[in-house]
Amino acid sequence: MVAITVDRLTKRFGTATVLADINLRIEPGELFFLLGPSGCGKTTLLRHLAGFYTPDAGTIHFDDEDVTHLPAHQRGTGMMFQSYALWPHMTVAENVAFGLEERKCPQPEIAARVAEALAAVKLEGLGERRIQQLSGGQQQRVALARALVIRPKCLFLDEPLSNLDAKLRLDMRTEIRRICKEFGLTGIYVTHDQEEALSMADRLAVMEAGRLVQVGTPLEVYRNPVNRMVAEFIGETNILPGTVIGPGTEAAQFEVDTDTGPLTASCHLAGWRPAPGEPVLVSLRPEALRLTDDGETSSDRFSGCIDNTMYLGATAQYELRLNDRVALKITQMNPTALLEPSGTTVTATVRIDDVVMLPG
């Protein structure tokens, strides 16, 4: 278990800056996610930690040891590659044994630890198979066993589930998290799949264009995004542009004028108190909006007609057209009856806590 500290890390490829002044501390035993659209630098950052890239500026520490210029093969980290990178000229057991051989472990110990690692990923008895004889899910487990058997200081996972089918992906999420916690590993996991990140991470970082945009727990990042990019990348949302009228009646609440009329919005960002007249954005999650006529009291209400209905079993998704310019996506949980598109006026309400004001 190590803490990983990244300090002012910068990397340029030619003229393009792919990592700009990254500062990050990952706690011992934490499962940390790097999340972002493709090309945001998340894989590049991971490859710096593994030692495949050397930064142009900044340092990387494992606990107190400066590893910035330590070659990859001396870092003692475990890594799972997106393509698994299993060696086709070796058997399953030979693949798993490789790291132990490089560490000059005695033969009997290697045999015992390989068997143990294969058992840990539920591949007992498949050691003599060739890589090509395994299914995608099995190959993925071999890659995990190979990374774990060396008892690494930390485990790096580069989109390890992206080559699996949906069902297997769900199983492996639980499995990988279980193993990381059981082995007490500091884990860093790169993905562009926000569901994977929300469901598995202790904490996560959202990256865009080589910068860290937000670092926090899944709950913090989902509920209190720092800007429009994070709000839209993690989960779905409705964004309404508006201008600040003034502070609301309660603390951290603001009155905002939007295309659909005035709204009361919550400001979750510490230290940000926009002045009247300042342009802002209001973010409304589809599942926070409720199509009710139960008379629930909230000052933020929207009236319009249902434009579009999509039934998905567990949920139903509606498009509520408020006027010519604005339509809201609304998700209804466990729908027992559907509202069909019609000219009838429908009202949606939302709790003020779920009306999130973001910098414009």
Partner: protein, 564 residues
């Protein structure tokens, strides 16, 4: 393509293959194993191993092949590694220079190398001039028994083939496979032995197998070096009397047996290990930028090796301009006389016309067959299309000498292919022989084209009312034209400079193709070698132009045509 048409293609190819591939080999086998009374016998083949002269020939062929392969590996492997891994000045230019040995028929190169490295050659003159060698005891670089000369020439000619295969294998290796080893604590040099080399072995071995079999059966180079104690030359010398002599047949069978064995072994040994991981490669390979002194060292090493391979070219060029060249660094007097004479000489002019005729017809045949075969293999679901593909590729595995001998044997009076001899004119025979040998290149480059053109384009045309044949003609063929041109250019230029078939099948001076004319001139007295060199320079220029043309069309894929 409709079912009928694809079946027709299959049928035509089957007949072509049976008549001009299976039959010649079968005929040779028959003569080697059936005695005068029509009984099966192993006597003739066993005699090849009992006869001291034949045995020596085989052993020499094997030694030449082994040294050639080793030389190619030692030259090509470091170059390929440096090319794939590092950035250095002049990289692109040097990489294309690697291909230059392929533009010089090796036996013409042998003329040049004799002029440069022979006892009275340029190198010795240079060393004597510098006082580094005594004038009384000149060094014999090419070896007394000429074997060293043959090996040097073979290496200089064949190393690009190993290079192309090795570089491709290295470049195609998923970098993550190596990174995984680093991540698990493996230092770079051990990673090379444990991961990189085993995984790129199939490519490296494929290239080596081509070089080995090529050197094992090479006819032109030992002929020019006047080294007749190798099997290929022994076969060549025996063809004057084929009627009642079973031993040339037996020799060919033994040669075929060994080359098929090596080819098969190379396939068997490395077919199973595939250099891919579980998923697709996810990171592109990045080249390492070296510090200036190291980068220049790479450039220097690269330039030296590719430069050495140009010695034969230089020799041929100098020889072609030499008034008289003996024991000097460069010829004393330069002249254009040989070029003028070459253009006036009946043998050379006639041979150029002959070669143009043979090569154009062979290329035409290849293009028609190649389009058909490639299309059926890539685009249809015709049962047995893999067989079709195998038939088109098999000529790569059989040495040219074996095929040429088979054609010669079967076109004699009273043999099945005698009809192909129009009197004394080997036109049809040579066209068929050239076409069969180069068909794999055309099929491969056409297939590459068909794979790139999305079938949806053709379906769109059919949807708008074009018949399958019309859609092929109007949509797909225009789109694959660049590939067809490239394949045809290669087939044409190789046919122009083909050695084995030309040497063996053309018997009358009036029907000589260029290569046989060069050989005849080279072994004649007086100005012969210089005339041969002039003709060799013509062919070099010609091949350069066609290779550049094919390269411009195919780009990086040009190299892929020389891989297995």
């Amino acid at each position: 393509m409709s079912k009928t048409l694809s079946r027709t293609v299959f049928g035509v190819m089957l007949v072509f293959f049976a008549l001009f591939f299976v039959l010649p080999i079968w005929g040779t086998l028959r003569s080697a194993f059936i005695d005068a009374d029509g009984h099966f016998t192993l006597e003739f083949v066993l005699e090849v191993f009992r006869n001291a002269l034949y045995r020596e020939g085989l052993v020499n062929s094997f030694i030449i092949a082994a040294w050639t392969t080793l030389g190619c590996l030692l030259t090509a492997l470091p170059l390929a590694i440096v090319y794939v891994r590092f950035d250095f000045p002049g990289k692109t230019l040097l990489n294309s220079l690697v291909l230059t040995p392929l533009i010089l028929p090796p036996f013409v190169g042998a003329l040049g190398i004799q002029a440069m490295l022979g006892q009275a050659g340029a190198l010795n003159s240079l060393l004597m001039g510098l006082g580094l060698m005594s004038r009384e005891q000149p060094m014999d670089w090419l070896g007394n028994g000429q074997m060293a000369g043959v090996v040097i020439m073979n290496v200089l000619h064949l190393y690009p083939i190993v290079y192309l295969n090795a570089a491709a294998a290295l470049a195609n290796l998923d970098p993550a496979l190596e990174e995984a080893a680093s991540n698990l604590g493996c230092p770079p040099w051990r990673r090379f032995w444990r991961i990189t080399l085993p995984l790129t072995m199939p490519g490296i071995f494929a290239g080596s197998a081509i070089a080995f079999i090529w050197a094992f059966t090479e006819l032109g180079v030992p002929l020019v070096f006047d080294f007749d104690r190798v099997t290929s030359v022994q076969i060549f010398n025996a063809i004057k009397d084929l009627s009642n002599n079973p031993f040339p047949y037996a020799l060919v069978v033994v040669l075929l047996f060994f080359s098929t064995l090596f080819y098969g072994l190379s396939k068997l040994a490395f077919e199973r290990s595939v250099a891919t991981g579980g998923g697709r490669a996810t990171t592109g390979r990045e080249t390492v930028t070296l510090s200036a002194p190291r980068a220049l060292l790479c450039t220097a090493a690269f330039a030296t090796l590719t430069g050495l391979a140009l010695i034969p070219h230089l020799g041929v060029i100098l020889l072609s301009f030499a008034q008289d060249w003996y024991a000097t660094i460069i010829p004393d007097t330069l002249t254009l006389r040989h070029y003028e004479e070459a253009l006036g000489h009946e043998l050379t002019l006639g041979s150029i016309a002959n070669s143009l005729k043979y090569a154009s017809l062979a290329t035409l045949l290849d293009v028609v067959l190649g389009i058909g075969v490639a299309y059926v293999v890539v685009r249809t679901t015709l049962p047995g299309r893999q067989l079709l593909d195998a038939m088109a590729m098999l000529p790569l595995a059989v040495p040219g000498l074996v095929m040429a001998f088979g054609y010669l044997a079967l076109s004699r009076e009273g043999q099945p292919l005698h009809a192909l001899m129009l009197g004394e004119d080997p036109l049809l025979l040579l066209v068929v022989a050239y076409a069969m040998r180069r068909l794999p290149y055309v099929v491969r480059s056409a297939a590459a084209g068909f794979q790139q053109v999305n079938p949806i384009l053709e379906e769109a045309a059919q949807n708008l009312g074009a018949s399958p044949e019309r859609a092929l003609w109007r949509i797909t063929l225009p789109l694959v034209t660049p590939n067809l041109i490239a394949g045809a250019l290669l087939a044409f230029s190789f046919a122009m400079l083909e050695v084995s078939d030309s040497m063996i099948l053309a018997q009358q001076a009036a029907h000589f193709p260029i290569t046989k004319a060069i050989y005849t001139l080279a072994s004649s007295l007086g100005d012969g070698p210089a005339l041969a060199a002039a003709l060799g320079v013509w062919s070099m220029v010609f091949l350069t132009i066609t290779m550049l043309g094919a390269g411009a069309v195919l780009g990086k894929k040009l190299g892929a045509l020389f891989r297995t």
